[in-house]
Amino acid sequence: MALLDYFKPVVSMTAEEAREFMKGKNPDDYNLIDVRQPAEYELKHLAGAKLIPVGELQNHLNEVDKARPTITY
C-alpha cells in the first residue's frame, strides 16, 4: 500500500474550517504545526503553532503528541 499512499488524498481543511476547529479549544488540545522555514515563521505564523520545517519532521516526530488532532500548514 505504501506506493498508493504516496498519491492518497491528504485530508485538507480550509482556513475557515481550521479557525472554527481551533476556536474555543485549548491550544494544547491539538497540534498546530508550521512546516515552513524559520524565516517564514518569523515573518508571520499562526498563534501557538509549533515550527517543524517539513524536511526535519521525520526527526522530530517524538515532539508531537500522536493522540491529538493535528493540523499542518
Partner: protein, 196 residues
C-alpha cells in the same frame, strides 16, 4: 503542498487525525494563493514489484531532472539557477543508481528496454512536468523554491516508503536515495531561507 507532504509523513508515522490547511497562511489571511498543480493519480496497484518501483522512481527522477533543467529559462536569480542545475545533475545520478537496481531485479535487462509512455512526463510529487513549468513561468524565486521543496519532500517520503517494502540491497538503495533527497531539501530550504 509542503503541508500536504508533512501530513503524509505524519500519517505514515501512525498519526490518525491529521488535516492539512489549504492555502496555508496566505489563505488564513483571506488572500488566495496561486497554488501549484495538485498531485493525485495512482500508477500502480498494491502488487508493485521491486523492478516496477525502480522504473517508477526512475521515471519521476527523469521528470524532475527535466523540470530543473528547464527552469533555467525562467529564473533570473543566479544562485537559484546554479542550485537547480546541480539538482538536475543529482537526479541524473539517481537515474543511474535506479537503472542498476532495475538491472539486478530484472536479471540483466536495461531500464531503457522497458516501454515507458510516461517517461519524463511526471515528476516527483506526481505532478506533470509541463503543468509545473507553466505554473512556474510567472512565479518569483521564493515560490519556485517552495514548490521544489515540496517536490523533494514528496520524493523523500516516497523513498522512505519504498525502502520499508524491501530488505537487503533494494532497501539500501532506496534509503540512500531518500538521504540524498533530504539533502536536496536542505539545500533548497537553505536558499529559500536566504531569499525570503
Amino acid at each position: 503542498m509542503r503541508s500536504r507532504a508533512a501530513a503524509s509523513i505524519l500519517s505514515d508515522a501512525g498519526f490518525t487525525n491529521i488535516a492539512s490547511m489549504q492555502g496555508g497562511i496566505r489563505a488564513w489571511e483571506g488572500l488566495v494563493a496561486a497554488g501549484p498543480p495538485e498531485a493525485g493519480m495512482a500508477f500502480f496497484g498494491d502488487a508493485a514489484k521491486p523492478d516496477e518501483l525502480a522504473v517508477f522512481a526512475w521515471m519521476l527522477e527523469e521528470g524532475s531532472r527535466q523540470f530543473y533543467m528547464r527552469l533555467d529559462d525562467y529564473l533570473k536569480d543566479e544562485e537559484a539557477r546554479q542550485l537547480f542545475q546541480s539538482l538536475a545533475k543529482a537526479e541524473e545520478s539517481h537515474e543511474k543508481t535506479l537503472a542498476e537496481l532495475y538491472k539486478s531485479f530484472s536479471g540483466g535487462s536495461a531500464i531503457g528496454d522497458k516501454p515507458m509512455t510516461e517517461k519524463g512526463e511526471f515528476m516527483e510529487g506526481g505532478v506533470r512536468v509541463d503543468e509545473s513549468l507553466l505554473w512556474a513561468r510567472d512565479k518569483d524565486v521564493t515560490a519556485i523554491l517552495e514548490y521544489a521543496i515540496s517536490l523533494e519532500a514528496n520524493a523523500y517520503d516516497l523513498y522512505i516508503k519504498m525502502g520499508r517494502r524491501f530488505e537487503g540491497d533494494a532497501q539500501k538503495v532506496f534509503s540512500l536515495l531518500g538521504d540524498e533527497e533530504k539533502k536536496h531539501l536542505e539545500r533548497l530550504a537553505g536558499l529559500l531561507e536566504k531569499k525570503v
